[in-house]
Symmetry: C2
Subunit: 307 residues, 2 copies
C-alpha cells in the first residue's frame, strides 16, 4: 500500500514491534534490557555518537569505580543483544501515531505499539581552541558529574548568563576556594558583582579563545590577550534537545517550552510514547536515566499484557 | 546535656552530619556516592544483610552482564568510602525530628540535617525444605528480576492469594507455556478456575513442604505426599517493609497503609526525610532504587546550599 505520510511502500504483513526505542543512551539501553527480558519484540535505533560517548571518566555510577560513557554504551548494547533486542543504526527523522506508531529513519519505516525516546541532548560548547583535547578530563560541563574533580583546584568557570554567578558560589561552597568566573556578557548588576566580591570570586568580562597547556590545562587565553591561570574549567552554556523528529507530535513541554512533561512512568502527553533521560524534566545523569528506562519498560510490560 | 528522648548524654559540640543514610541498599549507596562527591559530611549506617544480599545473579543492571547483590553492595561501599562517606555498622531503632534529625542505633545517637531511608524489605518466604539452597538460582521471588530465567522451563508458581492467578497468566504470555499454579487457599472463584483452564495452566490447591532435587530443582513435594515436577519455582507471597524505626514519625502512606508516599524527589511527607527503594510506591528494582538515590542526593545538595 501507499503510505500517506511518506510515500513509502509497505505491505500489510509489515512487522509491528512491541516497542521501538530511539537512542542508545543509558535510559534507552536499560529499557531495552528490561523489555528484552520480557521476551518482547524490541528494536533499538541509534544514530551513533550522543553525549554519553563524550564522557571519558564516570565515577558516580553504582558498581563502576571508573567507566567511560563509551564503555557503558558498548556493554549495554551487548546486554540488550543478549536478550534478543534488535539493534539498527539509523537516524530517526519522524514519528507519527496512527493505530500504532510509525517511525521513519532514512529510507525505512518501522511500526511499533509503544515508543521510548532516549535521544539525549547536545551540549552547547564555546568556540575555544584545544577544547576537545581536554573535554571530559579537565574541561567539564556538568557540576553533578564532575564538580568533584575540581576539588581544591584552580578553577575557571565560563558562562554567558547570570546563572553562572550562582554556579560559581555553589562550586565555591562545595569544591574549591580558588575560582575565576569569566562571563561573556557585561550585563552584570551591581548586587551580583558585590556578591562575588564578598565570596572572593574573581570576575572577568571577556571571551576565552584558547586553552593553554600541553598535557594538562595551564590557563585560558582571552580575546584581548589576557591570560588566566587555571587547572580545570567548568563550561556553563546549557544544551539543546535532540528532539527534531518529535516536532509533529505536539507533545506538552514545561512552561519555558523546553523539556517534555512526563508522568510518573515517564510517559509523555502522547499515549504510548515515553521519554527518558535529559529530554524530560528530571536530572540528566546516567544512573537516573537508566532508572527511568527501567520504570518505563515495566509500565510498557504491564500494558502489553493488557492488549 | 540530658536528652529528653533517650536519656543519652550528649555535648553541645556533637557533630551534625549533612545527611545520614539508613541502609546500604542500591538507593542508599548511590545517594552516598553522590553526596560524598559534593564533599558533604555523610554517614551511612547499615545493619548488614538486606534483600539485595540474597540476589545471587543479577543480569538486568546496565553495565553488568552478571553481578551478585553482594558484589553490588561491596563495590558500592568501596565507592562511597572513596568519596569520604563514613560507614558504620548498626541497626537504627528510632528516628526523631527536632531542629535536626536524631537517629538512634544501639547505644549511639547521631544528628543530621537530612535523612535518606533505604532500609528495604523482607521477602515473605514460605516454609519449604531446601528453599535456601535454590533461592536466587532457580527459586525466585520477583517476576521483573527473574521471570526471564524461567523462559521455556517447567515452572511452578506458589502463592496464597488470587493475585497469583494473574501472575500465572502473565508469566505464560511472556515466559513459558508449562505452568502449574499451587495455591495455599481453596477460595478460588469459578471464573478464576475457568480462566486457568482456558490458559492451560494446571491448578493445585495444596501446601508444598519440600523442594526435590540435589543439584537442580526436580520438583516439589506437597503436604499430602503429591509430587509436582518442575525445574524453576516462582514464589509469590509479597514482602514486608523494614520500617519499624520510622513508626514514631507518622509518615503518610498509600491507601492500603503499606508504602510511603514520596514526591518527585523522593522526599516523604516529613520535610527533609527521603525514602528510596521498595519502601516507596515505585517499582522495587536495583537500578531504579539507584536512580532514586541519585535524585534524592541532588535535591539534598540544592537544599544544603540554601542553608
Amino acid at each position: 500500500m501507499q503510505d500517506s505520510a511518506g510515500g513509502i511502500t509497505v505491505t500489510s504483513e509489515e512487522k509491528i514491534y512491541d516497542c521501538i526505542i530511539i537512542g542508545a543512551g543509558p535510559g534507552g539501553l536499560q529499557a531495552a534490557i528490561y523489555l528484552g527480558r520480557y521476551n518482547r519484540d524490541i528494536l533499538l535505533i541509534d544514530r551513533g555518537g550522543g553525549r554519553t560517548q563524550h564522557a571519558r571518566h564516570i565515577e558516580n555510577f553504582l558498581t563502576q569505580k571508573e567507566i567511560s560513557g563509551r564503555e557503558i554504551i558498548e556493554i549495554g548494547l551487548e546486554q540488550a543483544r543478549n536478550f534478543n533486542v534488535k539493534v539498527e543504526k539509523g537516524t530517526v527523522t519522524k514519528v507519527i501515531k496512527k493505530n500504532q506508531f510509525e517511525i521513519y529513519a532514512g529510507e525505512k519505516r518501522y511500526l511499533a505499539r509503544f515508543v521510548i525516546v532516549s535521544s539525549g541532548v547536545y551540549d552547547h560548547l564555546p568556540q575555544i581552541e584545544n577544547l576537545y583535547k581536554f573535554l571530559g578530563t579537565s574541561f567539564f560541563t556538568c557540576i553533578d558529574c564532575d564538580g568533584y574533580r575540581t576539588t581544591n583546584k584552580k578553577l575557571v568557570i565560563i558562562g554567558n548568563s547570570l546563572k553562572s554567578v550562582h554556579l560559581a558560589i555553589a562550586m565555591k561552597e562545595m569544591f574549591t576556594k580558588d575560582i575565576t568566573l569569566i562571563l561573556y556578557t557585561d550585563r552584570v548588576p551591581d548586587e551580583y558583582r558585590e556578591e562575588l566580591v564578598e565570596e572572593n570570586i574573581r570576575l572577568i568580562i571577556g571571551r576565552p579563545v584558547k586553552i593553554l597547556g600541553a598535557e594538562v590545562i595551564e590557563g585560558l587565553e582571552l580575546e584581548d590577550g589576557q591570560k588566566v591561570e587555571c587547572a580545570v574549567i567548568m563550561s556553563h552554556f546549557g544544551y539543546k534537545l535532540n528532539d527534531g523528529f518529535l516536532s509533529g507530535l505536539n507533545l506538552k513541554r514545561d512552561r519555558k517550552g523546553f523539556k517534555f512533561i512526563v508522568n510518573n512512568n515517564y510517559e509523555s502527553s502522547l499515549n504510548g510514547l515515553y521519554i527518558v533521560g535529559p529530554l524530560n524534566q528530571g536530572n540528566d545523569q546516567v544512573i537516573i536515566a537508566a532508572g527511568e528506562g527501567a520504570v518505563a519498560a515495566i509500565d510498557i510490560k504491564k500494558r502489553l499484557l493488557e492488549l
